[in-house]
Structure formats: structure tokens, C-alpha cells
Amino acid sequence: MLHTVNKSPFERNALDACLARAVKGSAILLYEDAVYAATKGASTAQRVGQAAKDHKVYVLGPDLLARGFNEGQVLDGITVVDYDGFVDLVAELGTVNAWL
């Protein structure tokens, strides 16, 4: 299963909702305003870094760049993908669950 989260972890509970119910080993894609959760300096970094040990965590590059962050500012253990990579994740990982 691929879980997607598109909201800022500071504004909404979507990321926490996802982390609380994504079974170990499942994949999580952060895109749109959720990309902030993937950045190194944010106060969410420890929580998300920990999550990246239990899950395969991805972040959408185009949304990251749009918001002024680059790949070097992404937490260790998180993989940057583009829209092609988003499509591949959906194709490979089965059911998609959007935490809206």
C-alpha cells in the first residue's frame, strides 16, 4: 500500500493520522504542502526521521523545489522522486490511500 500525505505537518493532523495507521514497512509519499515534513531543520524532523526507519518515505521533488528547498535539505532516509517516480510508486505498491 502507498499512503499519500499532502498537508503541512504544522497545520493539520494528516501526517500524524497516516503514521498512526500505516503498517510497518508500507510506503508514504509526501507531496504538496506535506513536503515541509521532509526538511531537515523543521521541528518535525525527529518524528519523521524515525518514521523513515519504519516506512519507506518519499518526497515529491517538484513540490519541494517550488517551496524553496533542495534535495540536500531533505532528511536522511527519505527518497526524492518526481512525478514519474510518483507514478511508478502507485504502479508498484498496490492500493493508494490518500490521507486527506
Binding site: D33, V87, V90, A91, G94, A98, L100
Partner: protein
């Protein structure tokens, strides 16, 4: 692989329709099939052909129409959600059609994957 896409929010106010479009384009470029794009909730507003964004901005509605034309996409607007919000046949941009929610469920049944974009 056969994909269904669900768009839950209207154009411009939320990025959902933009993200769905970029995803659809990438999927098509990779040779996947887009079985249907279904517009629900405020997503029905993506079909309003009267939309006129500033000239230096993207045209969310037109982009869907063009992608539909190029790839024979089925763009379906939910009739109940559309009636509530005042989206009727006379407003439909090229390539969109209005139909029942059953079209979404059928897409869920027929497709290998259903991908939801919303707020």
C-alpha cells in the same frame, strides 16, 4: 496499468487538480492507461469553461480539456455534486461530461489503481 483518478477540489484554490494533472500526464507518458478522471465535491468546478485565469498563469480547465483530447480521456463530473454547485451542461468545457457517482465506483472496480487528490 489501468489508473483511475479522483479530483476532490476545485481549480486554483487548492493544488489537488494541478497535482492530478501532472500525475495523469506522467502516467500517460509512461504508457499507462487513464481509465477515467472523476470530479467530485468542489472538484466539479474544474469543468467550468467560463474560467479565465490571468494570462501569465496556467489554465487548469483548458489543460484538462487538451489532455482529454490528446489521449481520449474520459472526464466525468458527478451530477449530484455538480447540481449543488451550479455546474450544468451549458458550462462544461470540452471533453467533460456529467454522469452519476456510479461512474466512480465502476472506475474503482475496473482500474488497477484509484488515486485520490484532495484537500
Amino acid at each position: 496499468m489501468k489508473f483511475g483518478i479522483l479530483v476532490n477540489e476545485g481549480p486554483y484554490n487548492h493544488q489537488a487538480s494541478d497535482s492530478a494533472y501532472m500525475f495523469a500526464k506522467a502516467a500517460l507518458a509512461k504508457g499507462h492507461e487513464i481509465y477515467r478522471v472523476f470530479f467530485y465535491y468542489d472538484g466539479v468546478n474544474n469543468a467550468n469553461k467560463l474560467s479565465e485565469p490571468p494570462s501569465d498563469d496556467r489554465n487548469v480547465i483548458k489543460r484538462w480539456s487538451e489532455l482529454a483530447k490528446e489521449h481520449k480521456l474520459d472526464l466525468v463530473v458527478c451530477v449530484a455534486a455538480a447540481l449543488r454547485r451550479g455546474i450544468k451542461d451549458e458550462l462544461l468545457a470540452e471533453g467533460f461530461r456529467i454522469s452519476g457517482l456510479g461512474q466512480l465506483i465502476e472506475s474503482g472496480i475496473q482500474c488497477d489503481r484509484q488515486v485520490v487528490f484532495g484537500d
